[in-house]
Symmetry: C3
Subunit: 359 residues, 3 copies
């Protein structure tokens, strides 16, 4: 029998707080581990663009995390911080999560938002020079978040742009703010990963399902992972592609000294992984492709005890809902934490980090 | 000759206030009739979802109407009431009126809005689990209004959702806030309908054009109508369908003791009706269907003197513009009043009813 | 090699202020020329609609420019002027620039915005009476900006509308706010054009590429141009159409006493023009058409020294990017100035011009 609204009234909003699913690490532990981080390191990002995970050194990234912890713990008065600022969100490639995340973050800081969701379908995309689109945003907003199907669009857009540009995903190149949110989740789960003198056996073995060279979430994530080379014992890329790392990534990996290998069978390597970064599909410029069933995990998968799963969401069959109630579920916390990362980035870009924090 | 902008300049914005069309009952009369209603009855809806018209008992509904009257009369200072709240509007089925109504209401209360209008066409709907969509909204908003083509989507969405959910229309199931707005219009027109001891001859004969079992606006409206069983002499459903009431509604009708009958010819029953609830089309999951011409009314229809017409709008040919200037037109007031109902619901859900009202 | 985000990080946001392209005249010169303009002339537009360029006499237009200069120079405290107002933007024909311009302007004034971008595709346009759409906006907003593919839609929408209506483009009829922004750019560039006793040789020869009768930006622009008949020596319409001016425009031209001629070859007349108003395409009701290559200009075109180019944007090949760095580029300033024009119009319509300005 189909369940009508009248039937579910008594199930929804039960008096007891609804069960929160998955791991929800307290940011206090991470904040404590970041106590020596100097916040003025974030000054360098003032009125700067956020384009690549590669533009973050370890110190700056930890500064963002310290600010994010303070925001998530509710320690800062930021309700009107950006009251006179407008953030434009221009999505030439459909997105809902990234857009809502930035808009929600901006609103919580007292700022205003201009949305261009029809970008892919209206006159603005029908042959109009993307240089002019950049020029246009100068008049209407103080910063702009952009997602585009073509990698080069970011450089083109920035040619005439005079306001900070945040890369919300450029083709298969990068998605830096997603990666920053991903590592935020990992560090809240294991603040001890901040130690730069961890014994080998406590380091984590990171598994990434996908193709870094062709998937922007993974590429950015891997770039940031290389900053924690003292805490990672190994990175295994699980991919069916012939050359998953592409041309640039192997150089980065060699510089970081983290051993990186490639495996084609997830089930075999799964019991060795501490963090499994799942992915479903990628927009590769020529269409979406779903990963094969041998790259899926569920309650029967041989996940190592204490291991955690990340996923940038949206997900499909590759990550079973059976895992939602498990202690492997860090992906919901990963999603929840992203809005604090975005608040931190916006406060930083607009040079509005509250003074008590900076001193 | 085609009328250009230059030609109409002197017609638009004439100095005399533009004629307001249709009946515009003063909310003061209804407010007076509600003076004994205790506003603390609304506390039970604090941080609760609005899913079904069936979740409203008479007392709670009248509490909403009392608050709405106060809002419509401008008696309350609510400009910044929801300044730190974000309402998301997620329309998986196209809507403009309902979305604008909620967004306008939220803005007037100082709140902010996040719009997802592309929901039906973007990745978010391309196979992404609706459970995850619910989880997503937890991070971005404090409440969410949803409209979906599938009835079950409401229950599914609420599974992981931890914020209040307002049903903006779930398939052919319900559209509770519309029904609440509809009865607000009726009670402002006839506050005496609040009397629970009305003589038979003063009670109203209500006509509903459509198919309650398959049209959510009507189903919700009928559910609320049953709360005024002392004031309704009869309900006539005008429908060409074999089983317009469906499976659930007959039981509800029997419990209320209001006689309900079915007629297939509107013209025959029209002179007996005090309230005619018109409808045009319904989105039934498989497409729009327009009602036949024998279910249309215009200036020549044999409307009873003093009777009123309601219509949830948008309308097509079934309700002629000839009636716009008549005293049968309650449908414009019905539409205008809806934004006050939505303000009242938002203040109630967020537990921000101004204190002088509550005491 | 494709340029990735990581590669461009060091190019974007260079420490030196990014070069601002094209002419950026200081509004102070124009403000000085407008010092005798009485601002109370704007009172007549209070709670009035902006439908046609033809509704502006010279005095009122200069009042708008004086207010715009003050806004652009940052002389006014207007951050919360419209804090309790909602502006709806209803685009039945796609637009991004005009919509963002109005929304950005409204936000900068502290106001809120309701966007209907899906208007052309949703139920609202599927046969719903446009009269009812006008009625709907009364409930949700305090003013509405509308763009529609059909010229008559403006008159139809205003039938039941009781709030100010701003024409954002109605078919091929008018686009008044664009024209107001265009002349703002011209007057900032040449404030001496305000003189009503200019010698012939200092007057400007204005070239308009396009078909006034069928392109709304040009029609409105030409209507406003006729107000500066003491400062324009000649208007040349460059068009391949048989009857570019159409039925109405020749009468207007004759009344203004500005000689108007038609040329079919841009290259021949280009060296004589002081202002060249370029256009690319027009939405003509039956589709977009691009102008032929003989109506294009680039760095090799024989532009008169000191002449300037305008373009409502978006542009295509007709206006080469080679000209962006030249001193002929007034089109970026034209675009930038438009948001101040829209702020001025909104403050005027809502009767919120700051008092020190009015006195």
């Amino acid at each position: 029998m189909r369940r009508s609204a009248a039937h579910i009234v008594h199930e929804v909003d039960r008096h007891a707080p609804r069960m929160v699913l998955g791991l929800r690490p307290d940011p206090s532990a991470l904040l404590s581990g970041l106590k020596d981080v100097r916040m003025d390191t974030l000054k360098k990002l003032s009125y700067h663009s956020i384009l690549s995970a590669g533009q973050f050194d370890r110190e700056t990234l930890l500064g963002i995390y310290k600010l994010s912890c303070l925001l998530q713990l509710g320690h800062l008065r930021i309700r009107d911080s950006l009251y006179d600022k407008i953030l434009a969100t221009a999505f030439f490639e459909p997105s809902t999560r990234t857009r809502l995340s930035f808009e929600s973050a901006m609103m919580a800081l007292g700022g205003k938002t201009l949305s261009v969701t029809e970008a892919a379908t209206t006159g603005i995309a029908k042959g109009e020079s993307i240089l002019d689109i950049g020029q246009m945003f100068n008049s209407y907003a103080h910063a702009v978040v952009v997602r585009h199907t073509r990698q080069e669009a970011l450089a083109e857009l920035s040619t005439y742009l005079r306001i900070p540009l945040i890369n919300g995903g450029n083709g298969s190149d990068e998605h830096p703010t997603q990666a920053i949110a991903d590592w935020y989740a990992i560090l809240k789960w294991r603040p001890d990963l901040l130690d730069e003198g961890m014994p080998e056996k406590k380091r984590i073995h990171l598994g990434i399902v996908g193709t870094p060279a062709r998937m922007r979430t993974i590429k950015s994530f891997l770039l940031l992972s290389l900053l924690f080379d003292r805490s990672i014992s190994r990175i295994t890329i699980i991919s069916e592609m012939a050359d998953p790392l592409g041309a640039e990534m192997p150089d980065y990996c060699r510089q970081s000294r983290i051993p990186v290998d490639i495996a084609s069978d997830l089930e075999v390597v799964l019991p060795e992984l501490d963090v499994i970064y799942m992915n479903s599909i990628a927009y590769l410029g020529d269409g979406y492709r779903t990963l094969e069933s041998r790259f899926r995990i569920n309650a029967q998968s041989s996940l190592r005890p204490g291991s955690v799963v990340l996923h940038p969401l949206a997900r499909k069959e590759e990550l079973s809902v059976e895992l939602d109630t498990s202690s492997h579920n860090l992906y919901f916390n990963q999603a929840d934490g992203a809005v604090f990362i975005r608040k931190a980035l916006l406060l930083t870009i607009f040079d509005k980090i509250p003074l008590p924090v900076l001193s």
